[in-house]
Symmetry: C2
Subunit: 226 residues, 2 copies
């Protein structure tokens, strides 16, 4: 359902930076995989391109059989909103809104009315252990609580594809385990999930590991299994 072929991402500069140096990756519907590798190796860049939040310098990207490079921006953002839940490494919560309203924005595309959005948002926040923090704004939350609001927002619409960038980096082991269990449940219900993680234990617990170094995939325990 996700296919990258010879993807390169280069940033201009003195010297230019090749964040992705030719990545080929196939993810089948319903897979659950970890993306690992050193800081700066290109993991977030890869996830943004997989999630159509960024376009490659060269190479092709296909999501659900559609060549993403041929879609208009409008078409692309509709596809993305309906199908992809993205947990950002730096959260990107809206500062003026409560945790509940932040999560409710995850359902805006779905045409769900306000009251029902807030009900579902409350349930999603309970699911990540934040039922007692619904009214708090991001500045009134701990680092790990903000991270969990970002997770709840990505998952509330039950997207077909979940892309999570270091979703447990600010969480203790027990709370992080709860998040991994939640992702496992969504995967059991059919979601395709890719998780960037620096946690060896979490990576090893998933069915497939993709390892990056210097903008390339150097190991993929699920490649060529077709």
């Amino acid at each position: 359902v996700l296919e990258l072929r010879d993807v390169v991402k280069r940033y201009p500069g003195e010297p230019p930076v090749e964040a992705l140096a030719g990545v080929t990756l196939t993810v089948r519907a319903g897979e659950l995989l970890a993306i690992v590798g050193p800081s700066g190796s290109g993991k977030s860049t890869l996830l943004h391109i997989v999630g159509t939040l960024d376009r490659p310098t060269s190479g092709t990207v296909q999501i659900a059989g559609e060549d993403v490079g041929r879609l208009s921006d409008g078409h692309l953002s509709a596809l993305r909103a309906r199908r992809i839940g993205f947990v950002f490494q730096q959260f990107f919560l809206l500062d003026g809104m409560s945790a509940l309203d932040n999560v409710a924005t995850g359902l805006l595309y779905a045409g769900v009315p306000g009251r029902e959005r807030r009900r579902q948002a409350g349930a999603a926040l309970e699911r990540v252990g934040l039922g007692h923090r619904l009214g708090h704004r991001p500045a009134q939350l701990s680092g790990g609580e903000r991270q969990r609001v970002a997770i709840a927002r990505a998952l509330v619409g039950r997207p077909a594809i979940v892309l999570a960038d270091e979703p447990t980096g600010n969480l203790d082991t027990a709370t992080g385990g709860g998040i991994v269990a939640l992702l496992g449940e969504l995967n059991a219900e059919g979601a395709t999930i890719a998780v960037i993680t620096h946690d060896h234990g979490i990576a090893a617990s998933l069915p497939r590991q993709v390892e990056m170094r210097d903008g390339r995939i150097v190991r993929d325990t699920g490649a060529g299994a077709l």
Copy 2:
């Protein structure tokens, strides 16, 4: 050198939140300790009060023998700037400046001239593995690279007290190990260091562990050792 007695921190709200519910902690000069506990247990709140970035609702705070509650704001920020290096959980880098200039701001208080500040900043960035990213602005860096810029900024002035809030949360094990080694070196040179961490391995490798739960210290492997 750091002493908290019966410190309470309460935030107003419906209901009010007691982030610290009575904390008593003594840290001797030259100690190296880990602060651990679940997400939301009060660790960052504790560190901000230890670092005089926040005042308690009640209780006393002493830094280097001075009762912090009796100091004027001006006096307090001078003490803090000269003596305390703080690594924030959410980094707080300046977006318009390069990594080099961000780190150089860590020496402004010291009366060091611009060229020398930049030289020292470059050395600090090399020390955290970012010698090849000096000119990049935060938006042009990975999550773990930004975290390391925040660390370099806190350490460049070789402060007597280092307070680090989850400094390896966005780093792979190898890069994180380099940061822990760097903190160990500074400690060997006499710095007093407190590290909030969710990493069990890192916590166990330090000489003392302080464990929090629900705004209280529930275990302290270094308490009462006087």
